[in-house]
Point group: C2
Chain length 423, copies 2
Amino acid sequence: MPESLAERRDRVLGAGAPLFYREPLHLVRGEGVALFDANRRRYMDMYNNVPVVGHCHPHVVAAVREQVGMLNVHNRYLHDGILRYGERLLARHHDGIESVVFTCTGTEAVEVALMMARLATKRRGIVCTDAAYHGNSAEVRKLARCQATTGEVRSVPFPDARRGAPADPAVWHLERLREVLDGFARDGVPVAAMVVCPIFANEGLPTAPAGYLPQAAAMVRAAGGLFIADEVQAGLGRTGHWWGSEVAGIEPDIVAMGKPLGGGVPIGAAAGSRAVVENFRRRTGYFNTFASSPLQAAAGNAVLDVIEREQLCANATRVGTMLRDGLAEIRENCEAMGEVRGRGLFLGVEWVTARDAQEAARADREGARRIVNALKDKGFLLGNAGAFGNVVKIRPPLVFSEQDAAAFLTAFAEAAGEARQAT
Amino acid sequence: MPESLAERRDRVLGAGAPLFYREPLHLVRGEGVALFDANRRRYMDMYNNVPVVGHCHPHVVAAVREQVGMLNVHNRYLHDGILRYGERLLARHHDGIESVVFTCTGTEAVEVALMMARLATKRRGIVCTDAAYHGNSAEVRKLARCQATTGEVRSVPFPDARRGAPADPAVWHLERLREVLDGFARDGVPVAAMVVCPIFANEGLPTAPAGYLPQAAAMVRAAGGLFIADEVQAGLGRTGHWWGSEVAGIEPDIVAMGKPLGGGVPIGAAAGSRAVVENFRRRTGYFNTFASSPLQAAAGNAVLDVIEREQLCANATRVGTMLRDGLAEIRENCEAMGEVRGRGLFLGVEWVTARDAQEAARADREGARRIVNALKDKGFLLGNAGAFGNVVKIRPPLVFSEQDAAAFLTAFAEAAGEARQAT
């Protein structure tokens, strides 16, 4: 029997390279919100945030095609494009974000953000949440689902408004942060920074208690640390705002960006005040071969062009609201659906065994997987996420239309109905 | 006065972002071995190894243009292109290199290589040289010009055949390695791996004692560790061989690759035996958003096509030998030139105050800078490198021709003559 594509993949990439779906998809083409497999079957992409303006957007494709035939070198020469891109990207942040260090990946952006904070504060302590993921390098992996209560990286419970005192649900979470900050001080490892995804994407988009993040940022700053927003997933229009930090009501000291920036061309970026960035430059001499390149500039500028011209932030809010309302309506007749969460075109549907059970106990990870595979069979590509793996992740390219949303809601209602009958 | 491009760069990227030459170059176009500035002045690129098949090679440009309009997604779907690329890349290594983990950057490839070695051996000790550079992340930076004699990362003096006993110059260096391995064992941090660039590029291409690397690899393996070759600079035809390890006479357990792989599209890769790679996959669940993508596959395959069709390994040997011989001839009348080193199209010329002085004392870093800037004024782009910063680095795209070499040698002889008169 000839070797299958999956067997060949196991041999070449090593078995265990992550793969989606019970029956993996062999993709050959993308266009807008559509992905096509080797049998020319069309799927609606409800998962991918890298092609934020849609797969193979003509404007981005044209910009990359032009630049790749013109010049593509490293950044130890002068080049106008990357400066224009940097200026445009910085202008979309609050005034305290003045200068930027480009990288290739979000992991590298978080690496740089951590170094920036540690060099600026001359401290080492980092606070993260206990169900976060910020990247794949040795240093950044320390923040992945961190349970540590000693050492340089320590976690607080990820915020969920359902925990703590109903009167002020932020209080319980802020007490946990206070304990970590006090522990850092006591152990002689004062806090350099707290780093969070401002919409807690990997945690499963839990609804944070009102006021939690602004108060947490104030506490960290009062303790002498900086606040880092990991906007790799939350940023660039995804929530209907440019940045997840705007939704959370915070103005971070340092911002890490990634995934969608280049619409498929690898771009990461870490930005902060000019003083913080220049201190980092001075102390490290940081250089990244493929970063700040004319190719990154062309792709990044083209993506910004499309988001602005096609008003994709507004589209994310409008279509996202329609999607969320539609899901909430389906939920009324589907006990397996816990919370419907999120903002703009980044939504999560909790899959639960019983709505009133405690959050970890009620998590129906298998149910969430089944619904994702059922929707794939119906032609809609989603994924699973969350601290307990039971959140159906809905994150289509931002060109997702109201018609697309209507088609998805119909399929979702069907799949939810079938899942109900099957149990 | 309007803001200059350099001032704007300091504001946007932060002052201190590395920049080449006394008068930085404002580049706008590249083609083959040529780079053009904003005044349409043509420069011959003698530095860049990322555009290994030449700037904007039509075959690579066409492949990228086609793929970017077709599909560009992450690797949790099946895709034929990346498997074909992986197979082709692996086939160019020795038989023990069976599976590959793709990344975006060389830094990420070295990150993965270190994790692979540590997970395979269940040990933490890493040996590097004292003048190496392997990347910019927190973990990999520990290997940069490492002087540590304690902890998990420790260095040996970079090999130079001029040191130690003339009868067997490898002995002195191997004794230093023995001390480090014994120190690791004594401190309960047994060795997981030794990692080197097999041609010691950042060390300035010193001539290693004959037999040093094979014997070092054997010693590390006897101590239970693995041998990692960082082929980011040395690999992909640069030396006239596919890999620097072939020049050094070693068969590494793990290989890290980067820079030239995608001809400008960010690709990094760490490869090893299938068992080592699958153990890494199993233990980490490693995923890299932009890696193993159809875009990487298209660019990587196109670069391999060109190297093979245009026989660029043979070209590197032929033109590299001509260059090296020509430089050796110029050296006869130029006391400032110390050793002429290197192999294929990666050469180094030591700039010295006196040829017979001790290596650190004789290093003429300023002289090397002056010659690089003088050659830039003559239209040839080079850089400085080495443990003492006094090596003129000659590393043109592999499509560099005999005519190109002749033009460069004429200019180099002139510049060397002018430098002699000026002193």
